[in-house]
Amino acid sequence: MIDFPLPRLEPPEAAVVAALGLKGGRRPSPRSAELLRRALELFRGLSEPRGVSLPVTAEEFAAIFRGQGRNARHAPLEVIFPRAERLHLFAFTLGERISAEIRRLFAGDDFALGAVLDAVASLAADNAGRVAEGWAESQAAGLKAYLYSPGYCGWHISGQEKLFASLKPGAIGMSLNNSYLMAPLKSISGVLVAGPAGIHRISGDYPFCAQCKSPACRERVTERSA
């Protein structure tokens, strides 16, 4: 059971400000600072963080990863997971209330607050992935764990179907639509891959890397190796 204490999910103000495009250490205007304060308050009041995980063997995961056969011809995960020592299917959601509030704010023309809350919730969901990675590393000393998700790095989004069928995150209120998109909106899913640090290094010369402007798959390994 992975614990997701809200303070560990809440992003620092500086991270939210950066995510919303204020560069060079500039301070937000008083009106925007007030929006940030209100968004963080809403985040604390509306979040219902819940996660679920399931250990799987490499053979079991191979079938899940293959999904509907729509992955890129070559994808990093296909050479990473067979070298892992532990694999856990994983899903996490911040719950429906915060997603509903973001929709309500946009629909009611309070989109400035909606945008800030959306950024806070997205960063919090990312932080949940890091909490889960820390949990996976705590299960076996000396291993590095990273979360890999359908929709990224050549793993086709349709991979969600088999992942959900095995993991059954309906128990924490998550579902998929016909396009394999998750509800509630602020949710993440994938496989926690724990193994020697070296297995996570991705070359960056896959065809889809040329179109990718946010190579988090490589940056996160560099950051945590430093």
């Binding site: 495009g21 204020l22 400035a112 989004i157 402007k213």
Partner: protein
């Protein structure tokens, strides 16, 4: 005209409380609604867009200004309609099928409305066929598509191909945006434009809408 400068300044400050009153005051002074729109509200929004482009302000400041713009537009809209001032055109936007990331698309929609366009927001997870069908039925000049996942980008090409198949390519212009998308990719799939961020997307849409008008307007109904 000092009142127009005050409208622009209040809008820049994101003051949606002051803008409606100042807009009414400008009208009471006999200034034409179109002039209030162009030299007050849109002038203010242009300054905001430029400050955002150079990272002097950040997104919430732009959105507060857009909200103030809406407050002013609520007063001007009926007057502009009765004076026969047309909108700048209709734009259909959405996040492509398989993609639920819609914040960037939402922001583009807000800023397009602020720039005087009518926006039909189809939401997220929108199939290629729906983009085209809605653009046709709504008589739109431009389709704007957003994607955040490399795995969903091919839907953008499906839309362009479908427009070509229906002989609408060029009459309905296309613009794409989102983290994995680039100007090169737009060229590769035959899209008419690429928007790096929401401010640039609005500038590109203005150009596309003008070009679509020159071609004799909009989609076949």
């Amino acid at each position: 005209m000092e009142i127009l400068q005050r409208i622009a300044q209040s809008l820049e400050a994101g003051d949606d409380g002051d803008v409606p009153g100042l807009t009414r005051q400008a009208l009471a002074e006999g200034i034409a609604p179109k002039v209030v729109l162009d030299q007050g509200l849109i002038a203010g929004m242009n300054v905001v867009g430029e400050k955002f482009r150079v990272h002097e302000i950040f997104l919430p400041d732009v959105l507060l200004a857009a909200k103030a713009m809406y407050a002013g537009m609520d007063i001007l809209k009926p007057l502009l309609s009765s004076a026969g001032v047309a909108s700048r055109g209709r734009v259909v936007i959405g996040s492509v099928q398989g993609d639920l990331h819609d914040i960037g698309k939402n922001l583009v929609g807000i800023m397009l409305r602020g720039a005087g366009f009518e926006v039909v927001d189809l939401g997220n997870d929108v199939a290629a066929e729906k983009f085209v069908a809605e653009a046709k039925s709504r008589d739109a000049r431009v389709i704007g598509m957003s994607a955040l996942l490399t795995t969903t980008m091919p839907v953008m090409k499906e839309v362009v191909d479908l427009l070509k198949k229906e002989n609408l390519h060029g009459r309905i212009k296309t613009i794409i945006g989102g983290a994995p998308v680039s100007r090169e990719y737009a060229g590769e799939i035959g899209a008419d434009a690429y928007g790096y961020d929401c401010a640039q997307a609005v500038e590109r849409v203005k150009e596309l809408a003008a070009a679509a008008s020159l071609r004799g307007g909009t989609a076949a109904s």
